[in-house]
């Protein structure tokens, strides 16, 4: 079983299952990926594999990257990502090995990691769901302000400044997000497509990392155990 896959988001649609139920799905173009480096405890201090995906024009790459890919017998690749694996599993990988969506066939639930859509610098109403202030009753030009950010009491701030982690305005989105335990709805081996239930982070064409779900919610855990 592969550690992970690299892919791109294609878009969303819906399908109907056997019971006629509507299932919202995201289509992911996953792989094929290639093993570009194997890290061993002897040489590197830990066990990991590096996957590479998607061809790139050599002039768009760098000499260092081209050389790195060449060592594994690969043409220049755009994405490289390292994944920890068990030391015992290292024998299952070799340089230049192709990993396709086929290796995810027996997997029911996956985590999808991507970069969320950037929303820019946002206030607390949009960013954290604060209610803001009243529209009337003498509220003066601060209808969407956060209000008090801490008083004298040590628990709510004070003692030299607002409390650490206080929700405030700032950059929203454009951040690494993991969507956990998404159902794998279907796999299309011929076209390297992976269909997962529900949305995944980021816009269309966004770069995604797909891995086996690290931990499952109780209901899904039971489902996985039953089958």
């Amino acid at each position: 079983m592969a550690a992970a896959l690299l892919g791109r988001k294609v878009g969303m649609t819906r399908i109907f299952d056997e019971a006629g139920k509507n299932v919202p799905v995201t289509i992911i173009q996953a792989g094929p990926c290639f093993v570009s480096q194997i890290k061993t405890p002897d040489a590197d201090g830990y066990a990991a594999i590096q996957l590479a995906a998607e061809d790139i024009k050599p002039r768009r790459s760098t000499m260092q990257q081209i050389g790195h890919d060449h060592k594994a017998g690969l043409s220049p690749k755009r994405f490289h990502k390292e994944f920890r694996v068990d030391e015992a599993d290292l024998g299952g990988y070799e340089l230049g090995q192709e990993i396709t969506v086929e290796s995810f066939e027996s997997i029911k639930f996956v985590d999808v990691i991507g970069t969320s859509k950037g929303k820019g610098y946002q206030g607390v109403v949009k960013r954290h769901g604060f209610k803001g202030q009243q529209a009337t009753h003498g509220v003066e030009r601060k209808h969407r302000s956060p209000g008090s950010i801490g008083g004298h009491a040590t628990d709510a701030g004070g003692s030299g400044g607002p409390k650490k982690g206080k929700k405030m305005p700032g950059q929203m989105g454009n951040k690494r997000i993991t969507a956990r335990s998404l159902d794998v709805v279907a796999i299309d081996k011929d076209n390297n497509l992976l269909l997962v239930k529900g949305p995944v982070p980021g816009g269309k064409d966004g770069f995604l990392v797909i891995r086996k779900a690290k931990r499952l919610y109780k209901r899904k855990h039971r489902l996985a155990q039953a089958s």
Partner: protein, 125 residues
């Protein structure tokens, strides 16, 4: 292959080969599969098509009928397995793509005239 082609290709696996696409203003019988426990039966919802929306696998029609003097509207995604069949029983004459004005009509005025144009070859009993 661009992104939309990929989406179309995935959708094509789940869409029905053929669906009956009624025109706006048509009176239709929609046969819906209803599953009660282990039994399955077909229920017919008949009314006037007042809207079509979306495309591909999401294509849906909105059907309006009057039940006990109360307007009832249902939207049917025609590619859903729960829609067994759509039968066109009458063609209505309309000049709009959305018949939302029917919602404000009461009594006789909510009826549509029979369509005259383009019916030479229509095979509706």
């Amino acid at each position: 292959m661009n992104k939309q082609d990929i989406i179309n290709q995935v959708e094509s696996k789940y869409t029905k080969d053929e669906i009956v696409v009624p025109a706006i203003g048509d009176t239709v019988d929609v046969h819906c599969r209803i599953i009660e426990g282990s039994k399955e039966r077909v229920q017919i919802f008949s009314g006037v098509v007042i809207a079509k929306k979306s495309s591909g696998i999401s294509f849906a029609i909105t059907v309006r009928r009057i039940v006990a003097n109360e307007g009832v509207e249902r939207t049917f995604p025609l590619h859903s397995p729960k829609v067994a069949k759509v039968e066109i029983t009458r063609h209505g004459h309309t000049r709009r793509a959305k018949l939302n004005y029917l919602r404000d009509r009461v009594g006789k005025s909510r009826r549509l005239k029979d369509r005259r144009r383009g019916l030479k070859h229509a095979s509706v009993k």
